[in-house]
Symmetry: C2
Subunit: 646 residues, 2 copies
């Protein structure tokens, strides 16, 4: 193909798989675009970012600036939810090339009469696009440039910044090259900043031995809100299968009164669109959702796409399950492990279109009931393209809906779920314990391409994971783990009240809770207060005020000469909010060391003036005059959260 | 889109700009493909590379193997010149998933009667594709699996490696996912391995003051061949412009008898398809090309797409030049510099199609005269897409033709020329002098994506560059520079006899030769021999025998505890040839230090046995028993080229 264009555009970032997937942002977030823009020869090049929201028909144009070595930059803010499209275009700027040349020639005392005439032509080419007053100025320039009598004046005008500004403002684009188009999906802020609390509604009753209900849950809402959480997540609330129901501690023998696993969904009482009757009615549930919303709390629903053997789908849609040559149905398994209370969905069914549509319909049903957040159970055991379709379809109508991927599996699988559309992802934070592990992992999440599509959600524990380092841990360790999760990541969650009550008995040598609520009801004294609750609440309140902690990617770890002390600096996009967090990772001893302030990064650091810091935790303020500062943290209160230049 | 596929294929390498450009190889070279292949759930995945030459209609299939973490690898060899296409496909292997599961269950003492019946079905699905003997075996297995009496035998057979091999060999592909297609352009070996010698034919006469001719050049061919060069490159051989001809040392005043710059192409005697009459006739030139070829030497032509003011094109195609408002033609310039003897081509002309076609036609003319290699002058001042088209069109008919891009400019510009189709590229080697600079640059060329599309050609000097480090340098320095160029890079060239005669007077404080042959004829004693010539010849002979030196990318720098000693290990693809080069970078003093053998990389290293090395330079052999070995190099003979395990 004979393509006469001269500008080449290459290596645009951020992009994911060359545009196969959108990058992710939330409203009012910045997109920093970088591209290589080059051309043959010595001409001046210009480049723009063109972007628009899906509801806009015209492109917004933003001029890029040359950083170095043919790398161009530009930034814009996305202000609305939904899809944005952007691309880069580049062209030769003939007028600026002309001015650049004539300046050099005039400096070299060359006669530029002929060049001035070229200037006249260049001015002519933009005369119809400029304002009236600019037009007057330019027409006068044409006269001066054409007249040998006014040569001295002409060369002063030719090199002027005023002319430069006009040429820059009104480029005469010719042979423009445009890149492919790339997409950004913009979510509401909650996609990036959320504080989750999980509990089992069936344990909500204040009376021992009584099955908790949604009404009991309503009474617990103020407790959750006072702790500073904004998202209340319940394990599945659907009818629990009765066939092959699991007993306590995952026993295959259930006894009379055993309540089974809420993830064993479906029975003669209904399936994924129904409510487990012991929790209450759909009306009770809607009332709970409404009351929670009134308190600033969203309810997140568990979406576990699997069924108990007595789920209505098994009879209504037998083709959605795999039937074996001996006529039995395929149970869930990961050989040699068997999950006798669960049937997996057979995604390779020929009837997959109806299956996908019913799944979509189920999501839509709960969205209509007021649910805007789904924690999706084991998404990695269902096809990636299925999720892509489901999430896209829902987002088209309900852009507020968010999806948290509960996948603890290989890194590329978890990343792929993020690419395919999940809003947030569970992470390996649960097992990252040492300073080295934490830094390495957070750097991977925030400095690699993953920052553009995978939003981590840090959970110190879940009903499935009672990590070894929490088993038998003291209060200091619990404080550390929550502080790390809630300050390293802007999305955080705990499984309570197990976490804040420091209940951590486990099955022997396993990261599984003993007498897990997954298989039984637990009775708690929900009114009990403790120091850990106070600190969690305080950290959550700080997060609500400090934008630097409402995002994950802007982070820089600080040198601190002690492997038991971790320190990091965080900031919001315009650096109007800057936070420095320091945590003692040793639950038993005081730790001290010298910490290097990231002076080059601080927004308003001036040599000679102190860096003022205020510690939200102790309430103390300091003036730091030096780059290196002494830090000492007791295990009892193992953290500083400093606001910088408050 | 409801896409039922379960396998996802991601991050295929090597690819350039997601397939916008082909990667490059030469015949019999290996392509190592890596891809992320993943799926939901716990099933066994399989993946293949499919590849074919442009003349083949069927894909060749090569099974990939899992390295770790969903990364799959496979390698194939490209055997023919021209384009290859490749892609990756992935699928769920149900039969191997079944076998993997039944093995785990049998180990766990579970009853697998139902699984065996599934095995019968899986066998059935491939029965029509296997060989006759395999069919017999499989039909018998079906009986065994179906019969409860033979359960013990069945479980032995179910887990057997024989069954595994058959299932692996005959995958029943379903819901296969295929990646996009990527291209490879395969050149002849010379694209990767070439040894260039440049001289000015007009200086070829043995008589002082006489203009050299092609006939004189023919007499010099044995000298070039004896030095071990395989490519003879001449500056332009076309009529030299007479208007604004340059005088000696780039003076704008030419005097009677001044020969002008051969890059000022075109006069009343002709243009790009004509021969400068003082060099001889087209017949003489063809005769030279033929004689050179007979000696194993290819002649490379300079292709400089620019004209002197009196080039025929200026009258015949005035629209191919830029005319200024005052009626004059635009001369080449880079303000404030002017090139009065050169007019640039106006690529933005509306008549560009004819311009492009005439350029193509010019290349084709010289190809028909026997030229298969072009050194393209300043390609970066002509549009990238123009070169892409020109090179593609030529390669379609003449895949043997190679293009060396003479662009000394910004790195991304040089890289882009490689992407757009240039076979080889001049590099910054000319200015990379210290150990640190050399390692950093070679690592960039060979370890980054550039390795796939930019083939460096290392020149210690050119008529345009008399680098500061060679000005006044001693013989040792010249040896070092040639040795570095010819062993670090498999493509190398010198501008002679200036280089081997160590002529390095310069214009003051400039990297420009004094009395440059670009503007005058120089008289040389072409028969003069020296030590530098012997060493260059020896290095070139070693390169001809040792495949490890016929490629650039397989290189590993070795630790050596002296900043004046550089050491590197090179190998051919199958490591049947392994070379270790050590060079003293200090031209004045003996240097010594301890060098670490890259034991982990050596093909056949066995703990306890010595590494046998033979030095081509000194003729000495050594047995090295330790990882660290003492090295000492005199400035007089500042290099070792060791063959390993000879």
């Amino acid at each position: 193909m004979l393509d006469q264009k001269r500008v080449v555009i290459d290596y645009i970032s951020p992009t994911i798989n060359n545009g196969d997937f959108p990058i992710k942002r939330v409203v009012n977030e910045i997109v920093n675009v970088n591209a290589h823009v080059l051309a043959d020869g010595h001409d001046e090049i210009a480049a723009s970012i063109l972007y628009k929201h899906e509801n806009e028909s015209d492109w917004n144009e933003l001029r890029m600036s040359l950083a170095y070595n043919n790398e161009w930059n530009g930034s814009f803010e996305v202000q609305k939810q939904g899809y944005y499209t952007y691309k880069v275009e580049g062209w030769i700027d003939y007028a600026l090339t002309w001015q650049h040349g004539i300046i050099r020639k005039i400096e070299d005392y060359q006669l530029v009469t002929s060049e001035l005439l070229e200037g006249v032509d260049l001015i002519k080419s933009i005369l119809n696009t400029v304002t009236k007053s600019e037009r007057g100025y330019l027409e006068n320039l044409q006269k001066i440039f054409s007249n040998k009598e006014s040569y001295e004046e002409a060369i002063l005008e030719a090199v002027s910044d005023k002319l430069h500004q006009i040429f820059y403002k009104y480029p005469k684009k010719k042979l423009v090259n445009s890149s492919s188009e790339f997409q950004i999906y913009v979510d509401r802020l909650k996609a990036r900043f959320s504080t989750w609390y999980e509990f089992f509604p069936r344990s909500a009753s204040k009376k021992e031995g009584v099955h908790g209900t949604f009404k009991d849950c309503i009474k617990l809402l103020p407790r959750v809100v006072e702790m500073g959480f904004d998202t209340l997540y319940f394990p599945p609330i659907h009818p629990i299968g009765e066939v092959n129901r699991k007993g306590k501690n995952n026993s295959t023998d259930a006894f009379e009164g055993d309540v089974g696993s809420p993830w064993g969904i479906g029975s003669k009482y209904g399936g994924h669109k129904d409510i487990h009757s012991e929790l209450g009615t759909i009306k009770d549930f809607k009332s709970l959702v409404k009351k929670a919303n009134g308190l600033g709390l969203e309810v997140a629903m568990d979406f576990a796409l699997q069924v108990a053997p007595d789920h209505p789908w098994v009879k209504e849609h037998p083709q959605w399950f795999k039937w074996r040559p001996d006529g039995t149905v395929q149970y869930a398994e990961n050989p040699p492990k068997k999950y006798q209370d669960i049937l997996p969905i057979y995604f390779e069914t020929e009837d997959y279109k109806n299956l996908w549509k019913e799944t979509l319909d189920t999501f839509m049903y709960w969205i209509d009931c007021g649910i805007n957040i789904f924690r999706v159970d084991n998404p990695h055991t269902k096809p990636f393209y299925f999720w892509n379709w489901i999430i896209s379809e829902i987002k088209k109508e309900h852009p507020d809906v968010l999806f948290l991927a509960e996948a603890f599996t290989g890194p590329k699988i978890m990343q792929q779920l993020g690419k395919q559309g999940f809003t947030q992802s569970y992470t390996y934070f649960t097992w990252r314990n040492s300073k080295h592990e934490l830094i390495e992992y957070v750097e991977e999440l925030t400095k690699s391409e993953q920052r553009e599509y995978m939003r981590p959600n840090f959970w110190p524990n879940t009903p499935d994971i009672n990590p070894f380092h929490l088993q038998g841990a003291n209060e200091s360790k619990y404080i550390q783990r929550y502080a790390l999760a809630a300050t390293l990541s802007s999305n955080v969650g705990i499984y309570g009240p197990v976490f804040e009550y420091m209940i951590d008995d486990s099955l022997p040598n396993r990261e599984e809770y003993l007498d897990s609520e997954k298989f039984q009801i637990t009775h708690y004294d929900w009114n009990k207060k403790n120091n850990l609750i106070s600190i969690i609440s305080k950290i959550n309140m700080i997060r609500k005020d400090e934008e630097a902690l409402q995002q994950t990617n802007n982070i820089k770890f600080c040198h601190i000469e002690n492997d038991n002390l971790i320190a990091f600096y965080k900031w919001n996009d315009d650096k109007s909010n800057e936070i420095l967090v320091i945590i003692n990772l040793d639950p038993y001893s005081v730790q001290s060391g010298s910490m290097q302030l990231p002076l080059a990064e601080l927004k308003e650091f001036e040599q000679g003036l102190p860096v003022q810091v205020y510690d939200f935790i102790s309430g103390n303020g300091y003036n730091w005059y030096d780059e290196w500062n002494y830090i000492e943290l007791q295990p009892e209160l193992p953290l500083h959260i400093f606001k910088i230049n408050k």
